[in-house]
Structures are given as structure tokens and as C-alpha cells.
Amino acid sequence: MKRKLLSVLLASSMLVSLTACGGNNDSAVTNNEDAAPQTQAQTEAPAATDAAEPSTEASDDTQAGERPTTPQGQLIIGAITDLEQDFYDPTFNSNATNYKITENVLHGYTTVITTKEGEWITDPMVVSALDTVENEDGTKTFTITLNDGLLWSDNSAVTAKDYAFAMLLESSPEMMGVDNYSATRYTYLDGYDEFNAGDTEVLKGVHLIDDKTFSVTVKADELPYHYDLAYASVTPRPIAVIAPGCDIEDSEEGATIMGDFTTDVLLKTIGDPDTGYRYNPQVTCGPYKLVSYDASSRQGTFEVNENYVGNYAGIKPMIKTLIIKTVKSETQINELKAGTVDLLFEIGEAEGIEPGLDLVDEGLVQKHTYFRYGYGLIRFDCSQFPTDSQSVRQAVAYCLDRNEFARQYSGGYATVVHGEYGLSQWEYLDSKDWIDENLNTYEKDIEKAKEVLAADGWTLNKDGGEYKDGDGTRYKDVDGELKPLVIEWCNTEGNPVSELLNTMLPEAMQDAGMELKTTTTDFPTLLTAMDHEGETMYNMYNLATGFSLQHSPWYYYSCDDKWMGGGYNSSWIKDKDLEASAVALKTIPFDDNDAWLEAWRTFQKTWNEKLPVVPLYSNEYHDFYTNKVHDWDTSSIWDWSAAVTEAWVEE
């Protein structure tokens, strides 16, 4: 009892904290002996022999039972982020809960999707054929034929017209008039720019061939692209609901929407607060349909869409009702124990994990663990003196015991990685030994830090004399000017990562002859500084990142000014070697795994040496769920919103 009371009180210390997140590793510091990185080998990739599995622990009495054949029961999912009444797509609302609901629960029948293993495929339940043609002008056309029998939740047929309409709608200037919708999903379509600018009413890159077939043509300058299959990924929208009375007309120039298609119409069909498709979509084609949304409690109730044909593996949802309820990290485990929620997902901090494990020990709940596809990090600004020097960045890394940091920060539920990869990637799983042999792990070593700094010219004291241990901050002669080795660090308030770094870094850096100056601010201000839009520039920041399934380092490490900042090259690094190693990946065909793996390793090695970022920790996520839940199988790339289709509950 005391322990639980203590945990509740300790949790209060996190009350107003903004927790940064992230990370990956190959030197495990996890408390969980069973948990290893989940298997995420790409299907067509060579099988990873040492692929680690996600860890699931269930009490004995939950092992029995069979998956029902008709949907039953309800699952109350506790989410840290509020569910907003915003169900169109992440453009309108990208909060984590809405993102997952709109992408995987409510809307469906996307033509190209990612599998549980992270492989991009055409969904066989939706697409019967996909033909690819490389055109003479450098463009590429994907012709997609739909399966028979696809239905919207109101029993009307899902046709190619709905797919063509989706692309036209979401690229149109008319749609941009609906609450500032940023029509950016289909920017790669041939003719998008002219269509989006309103110069033409015909979208060249889209053709409606017949009721079951449509085509997508991709701009030449978007190719070649490693993930080009993803360009054929289209999610349908019901034209009869969103643009009633309108039709799609096809011509040689492309497809166009005929009829009363105006912003005013869309403001009613999409933007009406009561009946609009954005707030209350009643005709959808995902595994679940919206039943109700309670604005005062921000709870959403979803029920199985009986017309759903199943996910890519043909699996149909067997949980009848899903309810999304907001929980607080401080009390979420208590909610689980009290039965007010059935499932908690992606718990990454010890304050939540340990009481959850207590419940597992008591046999009250089950757990499933997996490593995060991303990490918490120190990001250097490589355009600022002195972190424009690779040696200075390396010296900072040598001043931090990252394993100890991960252990202290996460309570033992995190690991450390040494490159820009996640532990779920097949490339990592295939390269474990190679990584051990080839990547610098930057173990804490003050002498090594001194060595690299001295080699970089930081050999003077404040008087310009030779630097000796105990002289304090190192200096360097830069074009006749004596400059101190001062690192300006910007971090966010109430952030436990910053607090821990503050206890571990300054002294070690001082020993190496570096001075760390700290500025604490809020996140928007940090972002402004990181994008060089504020008045002050800093040398380093601590924050977190997650990888996309179309991870594209060729943008993130481009030397071209247009990619600097703005969420891309946030390290502002202009390094030709790093850029070349990243760009080499872009054009490798999707199915050429050998070439990809070789280029990937080269990129990781270059990155590890240039060190634009120091990875700090990669959380070991824990899902906790009541014993009535079965077949719960998540990973960092197959999250709760996908797993609900496979899971089932006892009534």
C-alpha cells in the first residue's frame, strides 16, 4: 500500500512536465530480460536469423479461448492524448489519438499499405491488380484495379470514382477553403501544382478508367524514389456524401469533378459542426464506424463496420465496440486496475511501467513490450560555432555515459543506439554484428574527448597559452581571434531529460575543457530557435524523434538550403559525405535489398562519425491490458489502432 501511495505521489512530480521521447539501441540496459526488440523484418528482405520477438506475458487463465466468429464485447482504450471531434485526416488534426483513429480505425481501403512487418504492399483485400508503367517523359503511372464487393458502411459500393474523387478533392483549391486544409497529401501527382493553384480544373495525374479502375501518374521530378510504391497509396472518399450530385469526368488531359463542387458546398458537407464529414462521418470504410462522440468528456465510441472486408491479411475485427477515453499518466494504471479502461498502450516511463508490472505479477493484467521506433536525442546545430566541428560534437558524446543515462531516465526500460535506426528495422536486425564491429559507441571517455578536442585545435587557455588540465575552458585561435569552447544548450522546461542531462553533462564537459551554458524555454520557442527563426542561436537541443515508414535521410541530410530546418535538416549539417551516403539510398529500387543494406550501412557509418545527433535512449514500450483481451500483438510499427483488428475480447 505504501509503495502504491508513493508511486501516486511520485507520479505527481511529473504533473506539469513535458516529456520528450524517443530512442533505440544495441546495448541493452532494459530491466526486462524477456523483452527484446520486436521482429520487423521486411518480408522480401533476407530473414533475420537473430530477429528478436516482442515480449508478451499473460496470466495462465487468459490463455484459453478461441477467437470468436462474430464481433463481441467492448474494449475501452485509455489514451494520454485527448480524442478530438475531428475525424477527416491528420491534416486537420494530427494529435496522436486522432491520427490513429483516422488512419487505421475509421477510414480504410487504402490501396497501398504497410504490413505488420513494415513492408509496403498493395492491399490484396482492396486491389486486384496494380500495373506500373514508366513513361517516356520520366513520369510513372500506377494503374489500380479494385476488387469486387467493396462497400461503404451505408452499403453503397466503393468504386474507382471515390478514389479519383479523393485525389481531386484533397488537391483542390476548393478544399483548401475548408478550415485552411493543407492539400499536401498528393503533391507528387503529375499536374498537382497547376490544379492546386486553380489554373486548371483537370488533374493530369489522375485518370478514371472504369468503375473498378483508376490510374495515378507521378511527377518525373519525384522519381526515382525508393518507396515509390507508396505513391500509389490512395484512400477513398465518398463522393456521394462529400460532393452530392457531382461526378468525375475523365479525358485525355486527366480527371475533373463535374457539378456543384465549391468551397461553400464543402463547408457544409465537410465543415458543418454537426453533420460535416470532418466531425461526424457516417459513411466510412475502415474496420470501425463512428457511433458517437461526447464532446464534454472527449470520448469516442466506435462499432464494427460489418461491411469491412478485413485488413491485408483478411482479418476482420472481432471486438464489437471500441471506446477511446482520455487518461492521465499519473493515474492510468489505477484506471486499468479499477476496470475503467481495458487497455493502456505505449507506456514508456518507469513511473507507469512498474505499477503496471505489479498488476501483471498479481495476475490482474497482461503486458506486451516492444522498442520504440525512434529515440530521445541531443541534436547539434552544425552551422553554429563551435558545434560546426565534428570533433566538438564527438567530444560532447564522449562526455556522457549514455547507457547510464538511459538507465536512470527510464528506470531501466530503454536502450541506446549508435546510428539513425530503430531496433524494429530489418536493416538493424541484419546488421547487429556489423554495427558492433563498425560503429563507434562513444563510451564515456573524458581522455578521448580531450584528445579529439586537442586534435581540433582547442589547445589554448584564456590567455592564449598552452592549455593544461585545470585551466578551465579551452580556447582556439580562429582567424586570429581567441574563441572559448562554449556550448549553448537550449532545452524545455519541466523536462526530465534536460534535468538528467544537467546532472550528468556539465561536470564531465568541464573536465574536458568545455563550458555548457543552459537556456530553458518552452517548446515552440525551442522550435523557433532550431529553425533559426528566433533571435538566438544555440549549439544543441534535446528532444525526441520518431521515424516514418518512408524514412528518407536524403532530405534530412541534404546540403541544399531549401531542406535546412523546417523539420528536415534540423541539424543544419552541410556535409558532402553524409549527404552522398544518404542520397545513395534514394534511388535504390524497393526490392533490391542487398544494395539497400549496403548503402544503409555506409550511411550509418558516416552518420556515426559525423554525429549530427547523439541518440540518448529508446524507450521499451509497455502495453498493459486486462485479462479479457486476447491476441494483443503490437509493435512500434503496428500500433494499437492496427492491433485492434486482430485482437478479441471475452464478453
Partner: protein, 327 residues
């Protein structure tokens, strides 16, 4: 006549102060680092498309204009009842602020009723029984009540009344999947409201009890109380009619601020109990640089505060005839 002139003067004063504060607030928020359009356009959008979208968005929201022009547009729209556009929710502010305001007011009304229902009788009783054991116990408890931070009380309350003795839900406004209406819905919400109301009330009960006690002790020392007693009036009449009425001035002050506070959300309480109110919305708005939401709320509070001062002055005259508005 004098009262009318006084009220007119105060109205002019309110308008003047309102505009000054509006300029200051607007300038402060505009000077804050962070770009609301940037916060809107999160996600990986290719640079050239991003720039186009960014410029379009900025123009549509009027953020490309000089700050004085932006202010004029904002204040004009505000006076017409158009509170602007929420960049966080991509909806008009009036559409996003209604539900949280209803939740906050609901919570605060019940809390206020509880606070006054307990603290006024308790304050009077402890004043009358000054230095008794009851008085000493209440003194200690009330000090503890308003000294302990509300988040500690909240977590303790959750532990005791929702975890150890599961009388109330841990958090939320409604039971997940609840479909009842009418009385059932009220009961369900009331159960969820119980703990936050209790926690919010602890501090209030502590402070107002002490206010009332101190004020009553002061009043009970007055000559007119001795006179009333010597006239043979019943003790209840002496206390509630003669002493309490004269002790009301500080109570009126506190009550007025509580009434104003009805519309101010408590960030801590709302966050811990996942009660979707204005406090949470304000913090979220600040973090997202959703200035339209934040400014609308701030200006609403400014109006409430200014109007509250006038109400307080009027209330003083009602409880104490010696107070004249022209004074």
C-alpha cells in the same frame, strides 16, 4: 443620481482599461517567440509546398499584416462577437470554447456552493466559540487545507476515494460508453464531479472559514453587539442579524472573486481529473501558440474582473448602508 453618475464613471473607466489591457495583451502575445502557422503546418511537407502553404495560411489568417493592423482587425471582430480562428483546432474559437467553459462553470458552481455551505457556518461557529477545542481543530485543519498544494490533495483524494475505497471514478467527465440521458446522465456526471469538486473546495473552505471567523470575531467585539445582548435579544439574532451582517464586507469581496473565478479553469485540477475545462484549454493554447483562443479567454477574464469590481462596490452598499457609491 449620484449612483448613476458613479456607475457611468465606472463604465467609462472599464472601457478605457479594457482597451489599454487589450493592446498590452495583444502586444505581449505577438512578441512571444513561436509561430502559430508553423505549429499548424506540422508534418513533413516538402519545402516548396510548405512555403506556399505557409504564405497562404498566413495571409488567410491576416498574420502577414503589420501588428497594429492585426490588432484593429482582432479587436473589431471581437467587439462584434467574432473571437477569431483557432490555429490549434482549425475551427472558429467560439466553436471550441463552449464545451470547456460549460465544464469549468459546472465544476466551479458546485465547488462554490460546497465552499460557502461549509465555510460560512463553520466560520461563524468558530468565531462564536473562539478558543474552544472545535475552534482550535478547525484552525489547524483550515491552515492545512489551504497550505497543501491542490495536486497533492487531488492525488490523495484519488488514492483514498477512488482506489482504496472506490466510491468515485478516478477521472473523466462521464463513464466510458455511457448512454443514459436525463437524471441518469446527471448522476453519472455528478459522480465524476465529486472528487474534483471536493479537491477544489478544500482550499476555499480553509481560507473562507478563516475570513468569516476573523470578520465575525471583529464584529462580535463591537459595542452594538453588547447593546443588542443587553437588550435581551436572542443569541441567534445577535449573531446572524447583527454580527454577521456587519462581518459581510470581507465575505462579499471573497464571494465576488469566486463568482469571477467561476469562469477560470484550474489547470491542476482539470489536468489531474481529466476534466476538460478552460484551464486545460488555456495551457494547450499557449503551448500551441493558439493566440486567438488565449486572447479571447484573457479578454473575457478582463471584462469579468472589471465588471466584478463594480458588482463588488454595489454589493458593499447592499450589505452595509454606510457605504455610499460616490465614496
Amino acid at each position: 443620481m449620484r449612483t448613476g453618475r458613479f456607475l457611468l464613471k465606472r463604465l467609462v473607466y472599464i472601457i478605457f482599461v479594457f482597451f489599454i489591457i487589450s493592446i498590452l495583451m495583444f502586444a505581449i502575445y505577438k512578441a512571444m517567440p513561436g509561430d502559430p502557422v508553423k505549429m499548424m503546418l506540422q508534418g513533413n511537407i516538402k519545402p516548396e509546398v510548405y512555403q506556399l502553404q505557409y504564405d497562404n495560411m498566413k495571409e488567410k489568417l491576416g498574420l502577414d499584416k503589420p501588428v497594429p493592423v492585426q490588432y484593429m482587425k482582432w479587436i473589431t471582430n471581437m467587439l462584434r462577437g467574432d473571437f477569431g480562428y483557432s490555429t490549434e483546432y482549425r475551427r472558429p474559437v467560439k466553436d471550441v470554447i463552449g464545451v470547456p467553459m460549460r465544464n469549468t462553470v459546472l465544476l466551479n458552481i458546485f465547488s462554490m456552493i460546497l465552499v460557502f455551505a461549509i465555510s460560512i457556518p463553520l466560520g461563524i461557529t468558530t468565531a462564536v466559540k473562539k478558543n474552544s477545542i472545535l475552534d482550535k481543530v478547525v484552525q489547524v485543519v483550515t491552515i492545512v487545507g489551504y497550505s497543501i498544494p491542490s495536486f497533492v490533495i487531488a492525488l490523495l483524494a484519488i488514492y483514498v476515494f477512488a482506489i482504496r475505497i472506490p466510491l468515485f471514478p478516478i477521472s473523466g467527465v462521464r463513464t466510458a460508453g455511457f448512454t443514459g440521458t436525463g437524471f441518469d446522465a446527471f448522476v453519472d456526471t455528478a459522480k465524476h464531479m465529486a472528487l474534483p469538486v471536493l479537491v477544489m473546495s478544500v482550499g476555499g473552505i480553509g481560507s473562507i472559514t478563516r475570513y468569516v471567523r476573523a470578520s465575525m470575531i471583529e464584529a462580535l467585539r463591537m459595542d452594538y453587539i453588547r447593546t443588542a445582548r443587553s437588550k435581551g435579544l436572542r443569541e441567534k439574532v445577535v449573531i446572524y442579524v447583527h454580527a454577521f451582517r456587519n462581518a459581510l464586507i470581507p465575505v462579499v469581496t471573497v464571494t465576488t472573486w469566486w463568482l469571477i473565478g467561476l469562469f477560470g479553469g484550474s489547470v491542476v485540477i482539470e489536468t489531474i481529473f481529466v476534466w476538460d475545462g478552460l484551464g486545460k484549454m488555456m495551457i494547450s493554447g499557449l503551448n500551441q501558440r493558439d493566440f486567438s483562443v488565449v486572447l479571447a479567454m484573457q479578454m473575457f477574464y478582463v471584462i469579468l474582473s472589471l465588471a466584478g469590481n463594480v458588482l463588488m462596490d454595489i454589493a458593499y452598499t447592499l450589505v452595509d448602508p454606510r457605504v455610499k457609491l460616490e465614496n
